[in-house]
């Protein structure tokens, strides 16, 4: 059998899709998280339900939305509500997975989307929280997607916009947060999770062509590397076919 060819973004879309289980409700952001969610829906999670912070719940977009407020996010939605309602539903317990991005994620899964450098005199001012803080505060679990570079994976974020495990074990509960916090980190190098005892980021799998050593080299803190780390399973022919033919045929996000 000949080797299946795929691009790095296609791998990420497929790995993201595998993280979503059937029947889960998912807060999706634009881009790869959205592609991953729609791919999951067409593969193993037909009952996945998307939630958009702009207010639409469980739409059936016939075309990839360009933005979380794109009119396609309203297409055949179960209901369209206000922003406070969708976050309210999350607090009530109706939101399972939050898919987030950001400029930095630290060893405890805290995310920075506000500034690089000191807040009062930033080197780079970023967008600010948007709905990310609410999603990570209220959802059952959070998946982070981003580029894996030492400055993007620092020991401590320059600014905590979005709560991970804050300073370590027990801190989420102490702060009064209701959601479960970070669950997976999907980078262009591997898949990470969090150690149950220390709440620190740990490697789960490295993508084909990458090694645990490379991941450590591109991480700004000491990554926990358990003995049982494996290579991320490559995309299957079926995953790639659905992705290319049905989810993103115009290669808007996955190319």
């Amino acid at each position: 059998m000949s080797e299946i060819e795929y691009t790095p973004r296609e791998l990420l879309a497929c790995v993201a899709a595998r993280m979503i289980q059937d029947g889960e409700s998912v807060f999706v952001g634009t881009g790869l998280p959205l592609v991953g969610a729609l791919l999951a829906q067409k593969l193993h999670a037909p009952n996945m339900m998307a939630i958009y912070e702009s207010g639409t719940i469980d739409p059936k977009p016939a075309q990839l939305p360009w933005s979380v407020s794109d009119p396609w996010t309203c297409h055949k939605a179960a209901i369209i509500l206000s922003m406070t309602s969708v976050f309210g539903h999350s607090r009530a317990g109706y939101a399972d997975v939050g898919f987030l991005g950001g400029a930095q994620i630290d060893m405890y899964g805290n995310i920075n989307a506000t500034c690089i450098g000191p807040y009062d005199k930033p080197m780079v001012r970023l967008t600010g929280s948007g709905g990310a803080n609410d999603i990570a505060s209220l959802c059952r679990k959070v998946i982070f997607m981003g580029l894996h570079l030492p400055q993007r994976f620092p020991e401590r974020c320059d600014y905590i916009t979005t709560p991970g495990f804050l300073g370590g074990p027990g801190e989420r509960e102490k702060a009064g947060l209701v959601g479960g916090g970070p669950w997976r980190v999907l980078s262009h190098l591997g898949v990470m999770g969090f150690d149950e005892e220390t709440c620190r980021m740990k490697l789960i799998s490295y993508h084909p062509g990458v090694t645990p050593e490379v991941i450590q080299e591109f991480t700004g803190f000491e990554m926990i590397i358990p003995d049982d780390v494996v290579e991320t399973p490559k995309p299957t022919a079926e995953e790639l076919r659905i992705l290319r033919e049905e989810v993103d045929p115009n290669k808007l996000f996955v190319f």
């Binding site: 922003m83 967008t127 600010g128 948007g130 803080n133 709560p163 102490k174």
Partner: protein
């Protein structure tokens, strides 16, 4: 005159103002220029509506630039396009939940202003937190207790919110006070001449904002009869009594998106935020050419079309066709009275 921030959480002032507003259904139709001149005052806090570039009142924002309003305070949830005015004195500070255009990146003038200290950030919020502050104002609550923003640096960079223990459970909760912006401008699909406004798509925070804000300007794609609007009150998101002015501004969300009518001009938006606004000089040139160099919104649209080497009617038609594919024919939410009964040709004849 007090600073906008001193008025922002003053529920007594907000109430006194609204007690004086007329409940009578009066004809509030006026020209956009007149509405901006009358209701946008230097130093006002202005809150963004819609969802950034989806149903954002961009024609009104460009007119604010044309009229060189000074020292506005932005409330960005989400959005931030008005931050472009800070480099010519149009905006002095902001309360921020999100400024950017998602996949299309950061808004350079905002970034620059914060980095070099010329644009002050007065408070940092999450979308949900700021939405609740607006909702509190709409629901008549002094504050709400929520579970957002806890444990993060947002708490430290927002002087208006407080963390206390819930008196029932003892758990920490974040208290968010009701917020009352000076001014809100909305762009809607249809409004009657009294201000009752109807939309398709997401309303986001708009109903709460309409009640919270002291001054409300509605721009719409089309002014329709009151009977038409009242035939389906479910789609009304803004009631007449909070509206001060109604302006008919077709394509008023351009180059943003108007659900079901026209799609956003993605290429133009990318060029604006990534190229034209990338440097202070570029921003200045852009303002000179597109804002000061045009009389109105339609001249601006014509200018954009020219740069694409397209006739303005073809340019607009392209955006409408994209919307047709994306929204118009296929969306289930296109409701009562939703027949599009005008074309850019008519608008252009009137406006250019």
């Amino acid at each position: 005159m007090s600073h906008a921030n001193d008025r922002l959480f003053d529920h007594k002032l907000a109430r006194e103002w609204k007690l004086k507003k007329s409940r009578a259904e009066k004809d509030k139709v006026m020209d956009l220029k007149e509405a901006i001149a009358t209701f946008v005052e230097d130093g006002d806090s202005i809150i963004e509506t819609g969802f950034a570039y989806v149903r954002g009142p961009l024609a009104a924002y460009w007119e604010i630039g044309r009229q060189k309003k000074k020292n506005l305070v932005g409330i960005f949830t989400p959005g931030g396009l008005n931050s472009v005015w800070h480099e010519n004195g149009g905006m002095e500070g902001a309360h921020v939940a999100y400024v950017g255009v998602e996949m299309r990146g950061l808004i350079s003038p905002f970034r620059r202003g914060v980095e070099n200290g010329t644009l002050k950030i007065y408070s940092e919020w999450s979308h949900g937190g700021l939405a609740l502050a607006l909702r509190a104002a709409e629901q008549g609550l002094n504050f709400v207790a929520c579970k957002s923003m806890l444990g993060t640096d947002i708490i430290k960079s927002n002087p208006y919110i407080k963390v206390v223990d819930d008196p029932w459970t003892g758990e920490p909760v974040c208290l968010v006070p009701a917020i009352y912006p000076d001014l809100a401008i909305f762009h809607v699909h249809h409004a009657d001449k009294f201000g009752n406004s109807r939309i398709w798509g997401v309303s986001v925070n708009d109903t709460a904002i309409a009640i919270a804000a002291r001054k409300v300007v509605v721009t719409c794609e089309r002014i329709v009869g009151s009977e038409d609007i009242r035939s389906n009150p479910h789609q009304v998101i803004i009631p007449h009594y909070c509206v001060d002015a109604v302006c008919e501004v077709p394509y008023g969300a351009w180059p943003g998106d108007m659900p079901g009518l026209y799609y956003f001009d993605r290429r133009l938006q990318e060029r604006v935020v990534r190229e034209f606004w990338k440097t202070p000089e570029g921003t200045k040139e852009w303002i000179e050419k597109y804002i000061y160099g045009t009389e109105n919104h339609y001249e601006m649209i014509a200018m954009a079309a020219e740069e694409e080497n397209m006739h303005v009617l073809d340019y607009v038609k392209r955006l409408e066709q994209l919307a047709c594919e994306a929204a118009y024919y296929n969306l289930g939410y296109w409701g009562v009275g939703g027949e599009r009964d005008w074309r850019y040709e008519e608008v252009a004849k009137k406006a250019i």
